[in-house]
Every structure is written in C-alpha cells, then in structure tokens.
Amino acid sequence: MQLTGAEALIKSLEQQGVDTVFGLPGGAILPVYDPLLDSSIRHILVRHEQGAGHMAEGYALATGRPGVAIVTSGPGATNIVTPIGNAHMDSTPIVVITGQVATGSIGTDAFQECDITGITMGITKHNFLVQSAQELPRAVAAAFHLATTGRPGPVLIDVPKDVSQSKMEWWYPSTIEEFDLPGYHPEVLLDEEAVARAVELISQSQRPVLYVGGGTLKSKASPELLAFAERTNMPVVTTLMARGAFPDSHDLHLGMPGMHGMYPAVTAIQRCDLLISLGARFDDRVTGKISTFAANAKVIHVDIDPAEFNKVRRADVAIQSNVAAVLRALDASSATPKSLDAWWKELHGWQEQYPLAFAEPELTGPLRPQHVIESIAKRAEPGTIVTAGVGQHQMWAAQHWKFEEPGTFINSGGAGTMGFGVPAAIGAKVGRPDKTVWCIDGDGCFQMTAQEMVTARSQGVPIKVAILNNANLGMVRQWQEMFYDERYSQVYLSADLPDYVKWAEAMGCAGLRATNPKEMDDVIDEANKINDVPVVIDFRTDASEKVFPMVAAGASNDDIMTYQSYRDAQ
C-alpha cells in the first residue's frame, strides 16, 4: 500500500493507539494536517504551542499513556521547548512531532527553519530527524517505545516537509529489533544480591523512612507500597512528584518532605537511621544542604535509572529496578525492621507539636489562600484531579489538598514552569473526562497561559480554575520579604488588572469572584454546578501570606521554620 509520509505518520500514531493529539498547524507541518482530517484521532487546536506541550504532559500524567503534540517548524518548535524541558525534568512520557523545512533546505536558514533536534538534544530522552518517508513508521514506533519504557521522558520527531509529502510503501515495525535501537536496553534483571543486602539493612533498622518519589507513580507501585508500608509499619513521606502515591489519610503518612514539607516528614528524614528511596532523586528542594541531609542514615536507593545512584547522595545499597518489583521482592523476603514503637512515639510527638498551620481566616477577608484550597477540597468529589502552576499556590495545593489516589496531583516539579497549570488541566480533563479537574493557579501563572481557556471552551473541556489572586508574584515576594529586607523588586502585578472575571467571560468561560470567606464557599458551590463550560474564579487573597514550613535555600533541613516559629520570632 502506497502512502504519503504524512499519511504514514498519522497511521503510525493510530497504530500506537493514540486517541488525542494537541497541536497547531503551520507551513512545514501542513502535509500532516491533511490526513488528520480523515483520522479517528481527536485534534485539540491550541492557541500557543506551549499549551500543546503542557496539555500532552497533563494527558500523560492523568492517563498513564503518552501524550502527543504536533507543531510546525521554527517558532512552532521553539515554543514547545519549555514543555519538552519540563517533561524531561519530571520524566513524563510525551512524543512531540515538529515540522521541518525540506531536507534540501536544511542548513540554508530557510523560512521558519530551526535546528530543533540540536536545541532539544539536552532536554529530550532522544530525538529523531527523519530522513525519508519510509523511515517514519520506525521513528514513531521507536519514539513511543523510548518515551514509555525505562525512565520515561520526552521524545521529539522532526519531520521535513518533503519527507511527509513523498511516497512510501506502508509497513510498521512489529518487533523491538525493527526499532533499530542497538544501544537501548531498558529491561533490567533484579539484582537479588542487592535486594538481600537491603533486607539486611532493613532488619537492622530502628528508625526507617520510606522516601517515595515520582518513580513510584511512574511504575504504578502504589498497591505494593501500601502493602509493604502496612506490613512493616514504616513511616512514609511522598515528594512533590509523588503526592497521591500513598493516601494522605493513612496513619503511616507523614506528608511531603523538602523545602516546604511537613515538619514531621522533614525531621523524620533528618533523624532516620535508614532512608529507603523509592524512585526519588535527592533533589535539592528535598535535601536542603546536602552535607547535613539525613546525616546518620544508611541509604537504600531504588531507581530505574542507574545514573541517579551516587549522583547526589552515596547509596549503601543501590537497586536498579522499577519500584514495584523491588517492593514485591522485599515483601517476598519478609524484610522487617526492629520494633518501631520508640520511633513512632517520636514521630507522633512531632505531629502533635508541629501541625500544618496558618492564620485564622478573617470573616471580612481578604482570603487565606490555604483556606481557599481546603474549602475547594472539602467540596470536591473523591478522585478529583488537581493541577497547579508554580509558586506559593502550588506549595499550598501540595500541602493542604489531601490526595488519596495516584494521578490526582499534576504539577511542574523539577523545571518549575510557571503557567503549567491551565494547559495541564485541559490535557488531564481531555484524557479523563469522567473526572473533575481543578487547576489551583496563581495570578502570575494564569497570565502566562490563560489563552488556553479559549481552547478549553472551544473544545468543550470544562475545567475549573481557582486563581489565588494575591496581586503578586507571591513566592518571589515571600523571598524578598524574608531574605531581602522587604525590598520588593518587580513582584507587584495588581489584583484588578486584568479583570479576571471579564477576561474569563471574554474567553467564553464562567467568571466568578470571591473576596471573603462567605463568598468563597458560595462561588465554589456555584462552580461545582457548572459542568458545560470552563469556570475561572478570582479569589482575592492576602499577599502577606507565606508558605510554611520553610527551609531557606541552601540551609540545613534541621533549621526548618514553621508558621508558629516564624510568627513567634517576629
């Protein structure tokens, strides 16, 4: 069967089971958009290519299936660089297809030419510049294989215009050998000896902590984690990338560690004698000053990517594996620590003494942002998916929303990409139309990608967006207040400019506003009743609110500040 390269590309995506792509057409990718008209694949037309990338990420994180974005060459390709970098930092499986100028024009500075494979070399798991139409099916099959196996990540396929226009004889690779990836071997044999040494360390431990990272969600290991934690009675902390991997309501859960982590979670790691890292990578936002991080602990490091071992912290036992397989092996060997009664007594003491706290809400407003999140959460149905941008609102969402299921918190961790929340919410809702999707956003973040609310309305994707509008770039403001003598430099945005309600309405969405706690509860109830169009709520919050607990950048986790300790010091 003779097909054009463009037809083969679309057919290859269908072969991969792709049901949705996010994109925006342009010159070099034009040939690909024609056969898309005859395909069963749903195309979500975005308003900016960055939106397409983050939607693909949101889709992937909500469904567990790779997200796909299609954009044109040149600026279309460079506009999606930020989502690619974001997906690379958070190991999110996406496949990005870019148009490219014709092969004969590459290197001539042709119109809308850019070297996107060169630009994204360091922020993709791999990328391809396809040289002939006959090679397209192989590139697509290999890209999905790479994106979804081993440590997942973004893969880019650059398709020159003449490649998509020329003819090929249809085929599709059916075996891994046909992918032509002689250097790629993601399958690993579990190192039984390493597991045995881990069992030994566990059996000697009196103060263990399970340090659960995003790899636990990626390997869908939540059931194994629950079984292992309950059998061994070990305390669990879940990183920003692992929120939802273990139920927040569970007695064994100490919450999130790190710069804005819960006091008991942060301090448990500092004082533990055994740190069992499950798909986490000792990010600086978790470790604080590395030389004082868990200084007396032995470390068992489980990761699918061996390059993570000894990168930041030396591991006493390193096990290359997905998290689920290791937990099953540890359970099979009945690995059990010593009595944890004394340890739990200490942990419970910290939980009682240092609960998550914030200032009492005032009836007249302005709103406490933490109170807004708790109020939305209280009124949300179980399994609601939450996305966030980056900043104070993101940390408050991670702290104050109680996550009970995997895949319910979608945010930008490693890259810290402002503006992630809205498009990620759209991608999540497209992938999981059965779920309610709330985006907890900041006013600064919302302004970065708000145009995608038009996409949401036009494509019938009824997400709900809560803007915690403190009229400031809040996290930067917090640092300037605490570490720069309250010298506020370029952080004020205005609460009224833009008018978020009018802006939402102009984009075809419902626009609501709340300035005090009574209005807050009412508009949340109202938003929950609106299911035909997207909703944007402008919550007027107190700009002086800060995220606590907090470990200052570069400081030791031992010097954690809580809301109470900071207030008392003032």
């Binding site: 494979t117 060169g118 070399m121 360091g122 798991k125 791999h126 510049l129 790479l146 990836l181 002689p182 250097g183 790629y184 990517d305 061996p306 390059a307 071992f309 000894n310 990168k311």
Partner: protein, 181 residues
C-alpha cells in the same frame, strides 16, 4: 574544556584521575554532538577525544575519550553516557590496564646548524620524517602519549611551524579485564 594537568605518560607517576572510555556509538548524524553536548552540559571534563568508524561493523563508530575522573566520579560519567540512546557500549580502560597510542605530526624549521641535532631527536624518539623541503621537515610519531609528550618537549628548542596530536586510542592490555557496561 581545560585539561586537568599535563599528561605524564604510562609510567608510575601517571595521574590516576585520567580514565579512558572506549565508547561504541551508532554511526548516525549528530551522535558526536550528543556525546560532546552531554559532557558540556553536565560539566564533565574531556582531556582528549578521537573518533573513527568501528572496525567490526559499518553501523558503528568508536569514540575514545580520555576523561577527568577526579572532578566527576567515573560512575556518573559512564551512567549519563550510557543513557544516550545512540551509545551502544562503554568500556572503561584504566591507564594501567590499557595500551594506548596516539599520533603526533610536527613541522620544524631546519637549517644547517640544527639539522644534525634534530635528526638525533627524531631518531631517539623513534619518529619518522614524512615530508621535507629546503627549510623544514615534517615529523611523525605514532607512540605512547608519554612518548609524544617527550618528543614535544624535545622539540621545544626548535622553531616549530605546526604541531598536531590526535588524542589517543586504546585497547585493553592483554590478560587484563576491562569493565564494560
């Protein structure tokens, strides 16, 4: 990339911080850029790098990289390198477990006064003259990195027009086991 310190040859005083990675890569466009880009963005130091098509199979090339394993642990360099999809195999050759050679070419100005001593230097180094004209000679040495260092030093007192070195290639010393990934 700044070289960590002058290479002193395969002798007892060889700095152990230098390791040789013999890396088999797919022979595809852009692969060298991927390898070089990885070293640049991770802040790994390359001391020398040599590339040529692999002996066994036209699909592959062999990149011989001398790395500074003191500024970054070798495990980290190998681990990150191995994640490049186009990297097929990595062999770590510690200098004491490897035989290494590199090629040196130098063009030297000559006259009747220095010709005799220069010919001695060339002969002592085991180098060869591969080109001559009325005022200069081009010298070649295929030797150990230390031998090349020695010749380079010996030529310091002569007026050099050009001196090029290829960077080294290496194979495991027979009877020694290289660690491969």
């Amino acid at each position: 990339m700044t070289p960590p310190e002058p290479y002193l040859g395969v002798t007892d005083h060889t700095p152990i911080r230098l390791h040789i990675l013999s890396v088999l890569v797919e022979n595809k466009p852009g692969v060298l850029a991927r390898v070089a880009g990885l070293f640049a963005r991770r802040g790994f130091n390359i001391y020398s790098l040599a590339v040529a098509p692999a002996e066994s199979d036209a699909r592959f090339s062999r990149v011989t990289i001398v790395v500074d394993a003191e500024s970054t642990p070798l495990e980290q360099i190998v681990g990150q390198l191995d994640k490049l999809v186009n990297v097929v195999a990595i062999t770590d050759l510690a200098p004491k477990n490897a035989v290494e050679r590199e090629l040196l070419l130098a063009t030297i100005k000559t006259d009747v006064d220095n010709r005799t001593t220069l010919l001695d230097v060339i002969a002592n180094a085991g180098a060869a003259i591969i080109d001559v004209d009325a005022t200069s000679v081009t010298v070649m040495l295929a030797g150990t990195p230390g031998g090349c260092d020695d010749l380079e030093r010996a030529l310091e007192s002569y007026s050099k027009l050009e001196l090029h070195r290829t960077g080294r290639v290496a194979l495991p010393r027979l009877g020694k086991i290289a660690s491969a990934t």
